[in-house]
């Protein structure tokens, strides 16, 4: 995620996006208990073509966002054995070729060699 408008020294929000994006793209948990629904507000602006009649709005998020995570050196985390070279991550650039990576529980597990 190249985020030129985001302060490089303050990237946590970008990471929240990084960790949730895979689930957003690939679907929901298998047995999720979804939050309570909220009806569409007829007075709220709507983008042309967006049909609020078939949209679902939840009162609360179903996935707890990871807010303000602690950023650590990926090298150090690897040396400590918390990740391996094969661990899958979601990564985005913050400019100048610098990378930020997210390792979360959903879709970002260490890859199991020989299984895929």
């Amino acid at each position: 995620m190249r985020s030129s408008s985001l302060n490089v020294l303050r990237p946590p929000i970008g990471t929240v996006m990084a960790i949730t994006m895979l689930i957003l793209s690939f679907g929901a948990p298998l047995a999720a208990q979804f939050s309570a629904l909220v009806p569409a507000d007829p007075n709220m602006p709507v983008k042309d073509g967006f049909d609020t009649g078939r949209a679902i709005f939840w009162a609360e998020p179903n996935f707890t966002p990871l807010r303000d995570p602690e950023w650590r050196s990926l090298q150090d985390v690897r040396r400590a054995g918390r990740v391996t070279d094969e661990t899958t991550v979601l990564t985005f650039d913050v400019g100048g070729g610098k990378a930020r990576a997210g390792v979360g529980p959903n879709g970002l597990p260490p890859r199991r060699s020989g299984r895929d």
Binding site: S5, T52, L74, D85, T88, A99, D116
Partner: protein
């Protein structure tokens, strides 16, 4: 999406569902956003569009090859899906499934040119979008030369990351040597890192891309073409 609106960082969370895809909502304005296009779709900020850029799925080794000083955030959240379910193999094994009733209820009409849960890389540049099915890329020897929005692109399945990636590069041909993808001018991609003809690491431009299910990409970009597939009727 870059979570910055008029210079202010907003906090986003998944708060809804539309076309079988989650909607993000920012706490500050209460607006709902399409997470692929960055467009505000419902709420006070309709008319606004957030900057979008690529979020690549790769490995620790590739990130460190690109930037040894990379930082990482580790999540301590309990898993909602198993490692196996979210692995590439797990995702590929579910390509024959259908949308659940909840997700399907938010879809008016699916684009049936491909199976609903087909897995592939969706790529877009301006008004042009194209979908590259995982199976079709692997069927072409893990690399495809194509053109998008008038620019040459290479779509490849990086064996060291097990994920499809797309780059803008003008080349007459490609060759795999082990896990290294060579271009006709001698430049190459190794471990996800582009090296120019002198072997030096160099930046390479990538179009917008998302590794995703067919249904979500097709519903977000209804005019999308399909690489190697039937034209829209």
């Amino acid at each position: 999406m870059a979570p910055s609106i008029d210079g202010n960082v907003h906090r986003f969370a998944e708060h809804g569902l539309y076309n079988g895809l989650f909607l993000l909502r920012d706490e500050e304005s209460g607006t709902f956003w399409d997470h692929l296009t960055g467009e505000a779709v419902y709420g006070p900020l309709v008319g606004s569009t957030l900057e979008v850029s690529n979020l690549r799925q790769t490995t620790v080794a590739q990130v460190l090859a690109q930037d040894p000083g990379a930082l990482v955030a580790l999540s301590d959240r309990a898993p909602m899906r198993t490692d196996e379910t979210m692995s590439l193999g797990g995702l590929l094994r579910r390509t024959g499934q259908r949308l659940s009733s909840l997700f399907g209820s938010t879809v008016e009409r699916e684009d049936n040119r491909m199976p609903t849960m087909d897995l592939g890389m969706g790529v877009w540049d301006g008004e042009e979008a194209r979908y590259y099915s995982y199976d079709r890329v692997t069927g072409k020897g893990n690399v495809v030369l194509d053109e998008l929005a008038g620019r040459p692109v290479v779509i490849y399945l990086d064996p060291s990351a097990y994920a499809i990636a797309v780059v803008y590069i003008d080349t007459d041909g490609t060759t795999w040597e082990e896990k290294v993808l060579y271009f006709s001018d001698g430049s190459y991609i190794e471990g996800g890192v582009f090296h120019d003809v002198s072997g030096e690491r160099a930046q390479i431009e990538r179009p917008h891309q998302v590794f995703t299910r067919w249904y979500g990409f097709a519903l977000t970009f209804p005019e999308t073409e399909i690489y190697g597939g039937p034209r829209r009727r």
